[in-house]
Symmetry: C2
């Protein structure tokens, strides 16, 4: 099962969700593979041992056709990571947007899943830009998880995201299954409630029942190079992400 | 005076700052020009009357060589806007990254400033991605305003931003003057204090003394298609952005 975590809106919790959903899956006995497809390398920086040499990152997969298997590094307490590198930003201008490059990640993951290093769960963190990299993730995924921060600009971006996906459907020859995830929900703010109501009206069951609350432990854990469970197991943030994993598992979206 | 508001990190308050610094300048008697250089069109959506036809947006400037003067629309209570369009995302793949395209906005603004429609202040909102559009803004600006949300991932991004600017210096043949602006500061969180201390240690006087606090009126105003002053003049958010304008004006960075 491959989940791409994407939203063109910046700062809505894509990296935070990839990290902590991955950790929740690990806490439940899984061993997920995390892919950092963002040239900003935030997920790789949280891991802490990202390679300085771009050929040992996802850039090596695109540029030097290295296999995903040889690029995988262990992530203690979570599973494994295929790290990013700033050079990854060049993929957009080097390879164009033809079908070969757009399906490269999907084919790479199929090869990896056929090998001994296969993982039953793959989570892909994306950059806030619908270029070749994000399209690679969308083409490769079984489910698109769209974090939506509970503010008006993020809500607007979610509505536009749906239009973008509709345009892609004929190219993909399928409707990409998707779930919207409300993040940074603050009970004290009417805005949070407004955004939630609006999103549920728009997308009904495609909106996760689980809502990730605004939580300082979630915001702090990256500074300690870890996930929210390791940083503060009894936090509301850890509870919310565990609940998210449970909800997705009950729908067969997480194995 | 042209200020580009940019940070590769998503969701740090670029659009919010362009909108509200523009409004603060207007409140002080100015009539700023706001440019929406983000294909996500968030600033244009706040204005509310963004064109559906891409040739009436900044895309028309790049694609059809329309002048910036003919694309300008009034923004009541602020000044004027040159709106964006989703098609703007195509600029990266259509024109390549040669010097002609990278200097196109700078030359366009020089022409505009020579005409009767000149404005003494221009603010440019950028997308969270260092492609051709953001480079256009950096090449065109007199000052780069870099919002940094008070969280660890944004701090990490600010440090990387500085490296990116250092790489551009030989191409630009100048050091781009810059100011870092702390946003979403929450006094109750130790993290906010940590990030502020770290940023001031790193960049000293290049960090604005003014700090924009976390403020619900700032987050809500886009839903009412307006700036924080119009939405709630007596809010802390309005005070903070007025203070920012005053600080930049006292350094001759805002006229
Ligand atoms: N549930 C939460 N509670 C508190 N803070 C949060 C929460 N989720 C995210 N954040 C904060 O929001 C910031 C942005 O989140 P994150 O970097 O994960 O978003 P993103 O969508 O990956 O951003 P980008 O578009 O830059 O990739 C984080 O640094 C974190 O401080
Ligand atoms: N001072 C503040 N107080 C409260 N909320 C804020 C503040 N500044 C920004 N926000 C919230 O953060 C969200 C993201 O801000 P904004 O969209 O301006 O960031 P951005 O950097 O332009 O994002 P993008 O990278 O997607 O362009 C806003 O929708 C708003 O709700
Ligand atoms: Mg991210
Ligand atoms: Mg923005």
């Amino acid at each position: 099962m491959r989940i791409a975590v994407f939203n063109q809106k910046g700062g809505v919790g894509k990296t935070t969700t990839t990290l902590n959903l991955g950790a929740a899956i690990a806490r439940d006995g899984g061993s997920p593979l995390l892919l950092d497809l963002d040239p900003q390398c935030h997920l790789s920086a949280i891991h802490g041992l990202a390679p300085t040499d771009s050929s040992h990152s996802l850039f090596g997969f695109y540029q030097d056709s290295r296999t995903l298997e040889e690029l995988t590094i262990p992530w203690e307490g979570i599973g494994r990571l295929i790290p990013s590198h700033q050079q990854l930003i060049k993929v957009d201008s080097i390879f164009g947007k033809g079908p070969a490059i757009l399906n490269k990640l999907r084919l790479g993951l199929e090869t990896l899943e056929g090998s001994s290093a296969a993982s039953s769960m793959t989570l892909i963190d994306c950059c806030p830009y619908i270029g070749v990299l994000a399209l690679n993730a969308i083409f490769a995924c079984d489910l698109l998880l769209i974090p939506v921060a509970t503010d008006y600009l993020s809500l607007q971006a979610a509505e536009r995201m749906t239009q973008t996906l509709a345009i892609l459907e004929p190219v993909l020859k399928r409707r990409v299954p998707r779930r919207y995830l409300l993040t940074r929900f603050d009970r004290r703010r009417r805005m949070s409630e407004d955004v939630q109501n609006r999103l549920r009206t728009l997308y009904g069951d495609e909106v996760c029942a689980t809502v990730i609350g605004e939580n300082v432990s979630v915001a702090e854990s990256p500074a300690f190079n870890c996930d929210v469970f390791t940083h503060n197991t009894s936090s509301n943030g850890a509870r919310d992400y565990a609940e998210l994993r449970h909800e997705l598992a009950s729908q067969g979206l997480v194995s």
